[in-house]
Symmetry: C2
Subunit: 356 residues, 2 copies
């Protein structure tokens, strides 16, 4: 009676519990030691082709999958990536997330979401991650500030961290070309005959304001190249939100010499701007041109001319980067991002001269 339930007729021999097969079951079935099975699992070369074949066959037959928990315990790996993401960017974030998922689809890495609704949550998550081994790498989206930077730097000592569309010291940074992005928008506006163009951007980040600065440079370059002087550098600081855009533009239009065009730093601001223009009794496009930024889904529906950022690709690249670092494959030399481009819709109207 040695063959207890090891050979139930028709049943696959397994360890007592009804659970999934373990490496032991595979070893027994294949008539090898568990070390050998482990080697096969880990693509260790020192296994003879014959043995490897036999083991693989059993693995397939038993539909064996190594336990992530056990593996993680000994290797200190979790096979999980984390993404720290502010929800307020909504669609833009979704595109990035799609890119990440896309990159992870082939691999055996899973993605854990750490969402940030209020600023404190970011550092809370980061300190949690430094305490507990929960992810093998982290992607940080559009977050900034002293606290986040510190948290990332600390975590970065333990695992790779890449920041998307943010400039965090210590972590790897993946930044779209904001200088080019804003340049394209303003150049478009100038090409349409505008000269008094206001730039509505968000407040400069106290610590790492590279992004706003880059956009400002693009704005200036467009003027410079067009041979226009920047007597009145109409840069207005407003909240990233719709309300921010609304209020900023309402104020601008009420001024003595209102701009004829407004370049916004987010689509939401631009939507707010649209409203402000309409409420001022002016026509979008004909009287005042408005451009957005990010190319969020919404932009299409409201006919907003905007700057498309490679959101999906940034997600894809960041996740791919982490995976290749973690799996130790050649560090796919500095990945390149497609440049931003302008999406022309209706919010800028036609050329001012023609329009008359």
């Amino acid at each position: 009676m040695l063959t207890d339930m090891e050979s139930v007729p028709g049943g696959t021999p397994r360890s007592r519990k009804g659970g999934r097969p373990t490496i032991r079951d595979v070893a027994r079935e294949a008539g090898v030691g568990i070390g050998t099975v482990s080697r096969v699992l880990n693509d260790d070369r020192r296994v003879s082709p014959g043995t490897r074949h036999r083991v693989m066959a059993v693995i397939r037959r038993l539909r064996f999958r190594p336990s992530t928990a056990a593996r993680g315990l000994v290797k200190g790996r979790t096979q999980t990536l984390g993404v720290l993401v502010p929800f307020f960017t909504k669609h833009y974030f979704l595109e990035i997330l799609r890119g990440i998922e896309q990159a992870l689809a082939g691999t055996d890495y899973s993605l854990i979401i750490y969402s940030v609704e209020r600023p404190e949550q970011a550092s809370a998550h980061l300190s949690f991650l430094s305490r507990v081994r929960r992810v093998d790498g982290l992607i940080v989206i559009s977050l900034s500030g002293r606290a986040v930077a510190t948290g990332c730097r600390r975590l970065a000592r333990r695992c790779p961290v890449v920041a998307i569309d943010a400039n965090l010291g210590g972590a790897m940074n993946l930044l779209p070309d904001h200088e080019l992005g804003m340049y394209l928008a303003v150049k478009h506006l100038i090409g349409l005959g505008h000269e008094r163009i206001a730039l509505v951007d968000r407040p400069e980040d106290p610590v790492f304001g590279t992004i706003t600065e880059a956009r400002r440079q693009g704005y200036r370059r467009a003027f410079r190249e067009a041979g226009l002087s920047l007597r009145s550098p109409r840069v207005v600081i407003a909240d990233y939100s719709q309300e921010g855009g609304y209020e900023a533009v309402a104020r601008l239009l009420a001024a003595r010499r209102p701009p004829t065009a407004v370049a916004c730093a987010s689509d939401l601001q631009a939507v707010g701007a649209l409203r402000a223009v309409e409420e001022a009794g002016l026509r979008v496009g004909a009287d005042i041109a408005v451009t957005g930024y990010h190319d969020v889904e919404l932009a299409r529906y409201v006919g907003l001319t905007t700057v498309h950022l490679p959101a999906f690709e940034m997600g894809e690249v960041s996740a791919g980067l982490l995976v290749s670092i973690l799996t130790g494959r050649q560090a796919a030399e500095q990945p390149t991002l497609p440049p931003p481009y302008l999406v022309v819709r209706d919010s800028c109207g036609r050329h001012r001269a023609q329009a008359r």
Copy 2:
């Protein structure tokens, strides 16, 4: 020289490696066995208050956090929930996700995203999850079909599965009151003087079509209660997308006796409908009334009157439900969902009689 690096002056005694403290370190520091520490960790009552206190103090001092991997290995738990989600619903899904995150914030459960871009991916993820212990529970959003149902049923034998806004046999289902939702929309339309109201819904799901059926019932109830007969039950099947809505309504408007109002089963369809109305040279609101469904962010921007579904709350409830099942707390008796309600914006105009 026994006190190797155990008592570096000023340093916290730890096991050799620079890593985080383990249960062993805590036990040693507190002068108890590791079993006792484990009991404290697991709220086991059989620990004297004094000991418990002492151990807790050490835990706090060392900033000890038990390893999820180790714990998972022995308990078969991962402290992770999964969410299977189709990206095509976009904003609606985001709200659900926000609700889930909200519910999980206090707990020590993490959330893994399994995104579905193409139908096959759903069953791929499900079969992966049945093979590998990666989550302790799963939330399935707005997915249907034979394959998904089968996969869920199989997984449900291993861990709790709850389906949101889908009707999957075997799993727990969390459904908003679609009957009421569509009833509200159609009642509103009737109240505005409409009698020829078309219902544009998505194709009935081959297997579990409860949702479309519920909406149809709400549609009929509104007519019945208004004392209107349903001679021409204008139910049109269209794709859930914008194009679906566009084509369906374009066709309707070209018919011999076009409807004066269209109730759609998704906001995207409604946006498509809006376009079709405009292209037909008719005015939205004044000539043709349109209602949406879901109350997606977009609806606000295009001024769509629509049915708001408790998306956030469904996420919250589903995650809360899973957690309470997993932690074995009293199964918070059948959680209740707030009812859908109508959000009135501009797409239905005023009463037909007044409008003339």
